[in-house]
């Protein structure tokens, strides 16, 4: 399931950052993607919520430090 979530996030990231060649892994974080700042983080998470039909608590956003954290959080919410 993790791989499937990562695959879907890959597409979301590529669309959001308008970069078809962007590749992400579990360690990818905001230092690896220039436009991934705090403001875009909220927008990105909103899109993730829509796509996976889940809801994040606004205070959880700061604990999503990399893609791996995001995958784990999505997995917990889908379970």
């Amino acid at each position: 399931m993790e791989q499937e979530i990562l695959h879907q996030l890959q597409k979301i990231f590529q669309n959001f950052f308008k970069n078809e060649s962007l590749l992400i892994n579990y360690e990818t974080n905001s230092k690896d993607i220039v436009l991934w700042d705090s403001f875009h983080h909220v927008q990105l998470i909103s899109i993730v919520e829509e796509k996976f039909k889940i809801k994040f608590s606004v205070f959880e956003l700061a604990d999503l430090n990399n893609v791996g954290d995001l995958v784990n959080c999505i997995q917990q919410k889908l379970a």
Partner: protein
């Protein structure tokens, strides 16, 4: 508050106990020692920290429905102290109150009073941060590595403060204590620039000391600075300055605002950024100058979001842009109250920018005071400063690595002995917040 030499020496006397005590007893020793250090400086600070930690623990454990009221109580306490009504400077309140608010809003699943109290009162970070995420103490396990790396970091911090920051303090006081009497604008500009650098060195130096001491005692504290003076735009500067404070405001102010108004993203962005910086300004002090400082920084960050070409300028120009904006905003930060600012701006408006006599009207003023009366000492300070800033990245790397730790420690202590300035006033700027 004067932080005397025992603050730096006593933790090393504790260190040998780490080898013989099990972790739980070692943490108890740290807690007891932290309470003693705080009580030594202010009994009230210790009492309030313990009581507030206990209150938050009880609310999280038993009375969750009162968490927002407790939060309001903590904020009211903050306002009471900052407004000067109390007449008591409660050390550390501005820092640990943010930590306690964070665990009120996001409590962890297992809550122990001991853990909350240790996170609040752990003395290396009690006085000026860094602010711990979720009030959590992170323990380390490699005792020998901790001693080496902790000592290196501590010496680096001492050098930044006593070799560079204290010397700069003499220079900038030449202008800021007599800002109504200058006869050229260049002096105001240079003094503000030097204050910007001094504040960075002082605060990052104290952070290095806190991180170093904590490391010696087996605790890992988060970083608070990441070479901010090398940023090429203001957004980058604020990702690298007082990191733990900005992260706290990002998590508890910026994200909620932007998330709430996500359907109108531009409005959300502007509101979020201005809210963070106005609250951050008020966190420092309730004075006009701090609010202007906050508004200026927020303005330039928002500008960079809407005018993307600002982020594409060559690195060197970006560096100058950051230096100019930060210096300009820090002018208001330093002066603080409205009357001071008004008087200083009036004077600057009336005088020429360039001095008639550079040596008498700029050099002599900057060199004025105690140790720096002679131009030689002024030149010495500027050379030391330039060398440090040019090689800061490499210096940080050496002092964070394990290679030749004893050599580096003794070199640092030797430089401290030769070039250090140990005047008692204005040791740690961020203690006043």
């Amino acid at each position: 508050m004067n932080v005397d030499i025992s603050f730096f020496i006593l933790p090393f006397l504790l260190f040998p106990f780490r080898y013989y005590l099990v972790q739980s007893k070692w943490q108890s020793l740290l807690l007891g020692f932290s309470l003693l250090v705080i009580a030594y400086h202010s009994i009230w600070a210790m009492v309030i920290a313990v009581l507030l930690s206990f209150l938050v623990f009880v609310v999280i454990k038993k009375f969750k429905k009162f968490k927002w009221i407790t939060l309001i109580v903590i904020v009211l306490g903050f306002i009471f102290l900052k407004s000067g009504l109390s007449g008591i400077l409660l050390l550390g309140y501005a820092y640990y109150s943010l930590q306690l608010i964070s665990i009120l809003i996001i409590p962890s699943k297992k809550v122990h009073f001991f853990d909350i109290l240790l996170g609040t009162v752990f003395f290396p970070r009690f006085f000026s941060g860094p602010i711990l995420k979720h009030n959590q103490i992170i323990l380390t396990s490699d005792i020998n590595k901790d001693l080496k790396e902790g000592s290196l970091r501590l010496v680096l911090g001492l050098c930044k403060i006593f070799i560079l920051s204290n010397r700069l303090d003499f220079m900038i006081s030449g202008y800021f204590e007599h800002s109504a009497e200058i006869n050229n604008g260049l002096l105001a500009l240079l003094s503000s620039l030097l204050f910007t650098i001094q504040m960075y060195l002082n605060f990052s130096g104290f952070t290095d000391i806190a991180i170093g001491l904590a490391r010696v005692l087996g605790v890992e504290l988060p970083e608070n600075f990441d070479l901010p003076l090398r940023s090429k735009n203001i957004s980058e500067y604020w990702r690298k300055t007082h990191i733990t404070l900005i992260n706290w405001f990002t998590q508890f102010v910026f994200y909620p605002i932007v998330y709430k108004f996500k359907s109108v993203p531009k409005f959300a962005l502007v509101l979020g950024i201005f809210s963070v910086f106005i609250l951050s300004a008020l966190w420092h002090n309730f004075q006009f100058g701090f609010i202007v400082w906050g508004l200026l920084n927020a303005f330039f960050i928002v500008l960079e979001y809407f005018i993307k070409s600002v982020n594409k300028i060559p690195r060197f120009l970006g560096f100058l842009y950051v230096l100019f904006v930060v210096t300009f905003s820090n002018f208001f930060f330093k002066l603080g109250d409205l009357q001071n600012i008004r008087q200083s701006l009036k004077t600057i408006y009336q005088v020429n920018f360039l001095p008639q006599n550079f040596m008498a009207d700029v050099v002599a003023i900057l060199g004025k005071g105690g140790y720096l009366e002679q131009q030689y000492h002024l030149l010495e300070t500027l050379v030391l400063l330039l060398l440090f800033l040019l090689f800061e990245k490499s210096i940080n790397r050496w002092f964070k690595s394990n290679n030749y730790p004893l050599l580096l420690i003794f070199t640092g202590l030797y430089l401290l002995f030769i070039f250090g300035n140990f005047a008692q006033n204005n040791q740690f700027i961020y203690l006043q917040f």
